[in-house]
């Protein structure tokens, strides 16, 4: 039975009962199909999450087994609200996310459009597109750190040679260039993810639409805004959500570049340092829950924005 059209072809005399029975059958089938994926994610995530949320209400320590753990209610959260370090971490991470997601999206779109078009260089673009994504994050961060070095780094060397900068710059050490340096490295690493998703989305758009538009005299720009963007919306939404999610949890590049510098702590570094370094699992778990809520907020904003636009 076709799930979406059966109702319309049912005879008028008994539409309601048929539809509801069918709906129930559909719903059951749908949940059955969903079950394996939900169970898989649930198994891996539910117990750990439950534990994290539980710990956030206690004073659990990393090195435990000697002192008892106590339930302390909302103490951790109260401390978190007043914690300026955490606040700085949130601000920094959000700034980083906005910069990187914007650039990744822009670059990813350009790359996807290029590879999708009949442009001559697209074969090479296509091959090299995934290279940054294929390199392990830790190795990539280390590589970029050494490219940024102010004595033997290639970025300074090339920059001076090409007269783009007058002398070597300590990109990582100086506070005013630190965030940009980290962002450039992360954008390099993760643009392929966005580009690939957008490219896949572009592939699904039927070419007849473009032909029809061209016949009607629409310019390339108009075609882009009237045909491509609307039809690309689902792919854009997915790319935005997952990139934002990942950017808000950024850890590796900041840790490798800056260690535990107070002015470049991201939320994830704050959480990790609190749980493992300081050993305060309770407080760190509360930070993790806060991070989860912040990320959730971004997701809600995206979805609302996209849905409103659609209407």
């Amino acid at each position: 039975m076709s799930p979406t059209t059966e109702a319309s072809s049912a005879p008028r005399s008994r539409p309601r009962r048929r539809r509801s029975r069918l709906q129930r059958k559909q719903t059951r089938l749908a949940w059955l199909l969903l079950l394996p994926a939900l169970v898989a994610v649930g198994l891996v995530a539910l117990y750990p999450l439950g534990r994290t949320i539980y710990y956030s209400f206690t004073d659990q320590q990393f090195l435990s087994g000697i002192e008892a753990t106590h339930w302390i209610g909302l103490e951790n959260y109260k401390d978190l609200i007043h914690d300026t370090l955490f606040r700085d971490a949130v601000v920094l991470t959000v700034k980083f996310t906005l910069i990187t997601v914007a650039f990744e999206f822009l670059l990813g779109m350009i790359i996807a459009l290029t590879v999708n078009s009949g442009f001559k260089g697209r074969g090479v673009m296509r091959a090299m597109m995934l290279v940054p994504w294929a390199i392990p994050t830790v190795v990539s961060a280390l590589m970029w750190k050494w490219m940024y070095n102010d004595i033997y780094g290639v970025i300074n060397d090339a920059g001076v040679r090409l007269h783009l900068i007058s002398h070597n710059v300590a990109w990582i050490a100086q506070p005013n260039t630190a965030l940009g340096a980290a962002a450039a490295s992360d954008i390099w690493k993760t643009t392929p993810f966005v580009a690939l998703l957008l490219l896949a989305g572009l592939q699904v758009i039927p070419t007849e639409l473009y032909e029809a538009a061209r016949v009607d005299g629409a310019s390339a720009w108009q075609q882009f805004w009237r045909i491509t963007m609307p039809l690309l919306r689902p792919a854009i939404l997915v790319a935005l959500i997952f990139r934002t999610l990942d950017a808000l949890r950024v850890f590796d590049v900041f840790y490798v570049f800056f260690g535990n510098r107070p002015d470049t702590q991201t939320m994830a570094i704050f959480a990790q340092d609190t749980i493992v370094g300081t050993g305060d699992v309770g407080y760190g778990s509360a930070a993790c829950v806060a991070i989860f809520l912040i990320i959730g907020l971004f997701t809600v904003i995206y979805v609302t924005f996209m849905r409103v636009e659609q209407q």
Partner: protein, 301 residues
């Protein structure tokens, strides 16, 4: 003027027009080409630098003035890396883990996306966000609990532990991306098949699945690479080189002796290239699948 002369003059004027138009068009496209070139350099140069570093002997790696092309290229790093039994083992482990994770993600993901993308039922949006929300915690948050679980299941220091925990990284976006592909297909697509008497499973397998092939390849590739590059769980849940994955192996290289801080950069770069090249080849092969596009018949029919 004779007809022949007229024809020649006409031909010449047409030729003149043909010469001018492409030139103007080419100039108008110049900023576009420059932009593409800049993006190309940004994307490729670090990888070129990695390759150059892998071919440079240790002493010259960071010597100034920098050698953009190694003065005395050497294969010694590749030899060190490829002859290392541990590294080969790590390659095998990574392949097994990433392959299994991808397979499981695709199977579970396509089935789930069929439900989420082609059915209308209450709780559909809730299910999607539920799946998403279970994964947006920093990795450190669930590390401790995962560790306990893995010990309880007796999976510590096995590849099973990694396959299990990497699913949390790949399953959500696989489900989301495939759902958007499924949802984008025309609504009356299945109707023809149902009229012919097909079951939902056959509809899924024979009609829908081929049409979302670009989505399958995309998510498969992304899932594979995500699992391949995963570092924290691989580090925390394995104990000995027998079970290390490539990411842990690369970061464990030492130059031997009691050199606790030295990072053998040449080896690390050689290993990175060794690890990346198959992924690029795989991508090249599969990219044709992505760019193949839809079969006209299935859409129109």
């Amino acid at each position: 003027m004779t007809a022949a002369a007229e024809a020649t003059t006409e031909a010449r004027s047409v030729a003149k027009v043909r010469v001018h138009k492409p030139l103007r068009k080419r100039l108008a496209r110049l900023p576009f080409y420059l932009l593409i070139a800049a993006i190309f350099v940004y994307t490729i140069f670090p990888f070129y630098w990695a390759i150059r570093s892998s071919l440079t002997p240790d002493g010259d790696l960071f010597a100034t003035p920098l050698q953009y092309f190694p003065n005395s290229p050497t294969l010694v790093h590749y030899r060190e890396v490829l002859s290392s039994g541990d590294f080969q083992r790590a390659l095998l482990n990574s392949t097994i883990v990433a392959g299994s994770v991808t397979l499981i993600s695709l199977v579970l993901g396509t089935v789930a996306s069929y439900a989420l993308g082609r059915f209308r039922f209450r709780g559909r949006a809730f299910a999607m966000y539920l799946m998403l929300s279970m994964t947006i915690f920093p990795q450190i948050a669930i590390l401790g609990a995962l560790y306990t679980m893995i010990n309880k299941f007796g999976l510590f220091n096995t590849l099973g532990a990694l396959i299990f925990s990497d699913l949390i990284l790949t399953l959500p976006f696989t489900v989301w991306v495939l759902t958007s592909f499924m949802a984008a297909l025309p609504k009356d697509l299945e109707e023809a098949a149902y009229v012919d008497g097909a079951s939902p499973f056959q509809v899924f397998y024979k009609v829908l699945l081929p049409l979302i092939a670009p989505g399958l390849v995309t998510t498969g590739l992304l899932a594979f690479i995500t699992a391949w590059n995963e570092y924290l769980y691989a580090l925390s849940f394995t104990q000995d080189p027998e079970h290390h994955t490539v990411t842990v192996a690369i970061t464990s290289f030492t130059s031997g002796k009691g050199l606790t801080f030295e990072q053998p950069w040449g080896q690390i770069m050689a290993a990175t290239v060794v690890v990346t090249v198959p992924l690029i080849v795989l991508t090249l092969i599969l990219q044709r699948r992505i760019l193949a596009g839809l079969t006209a018949g299935a859409v129109k029919g």
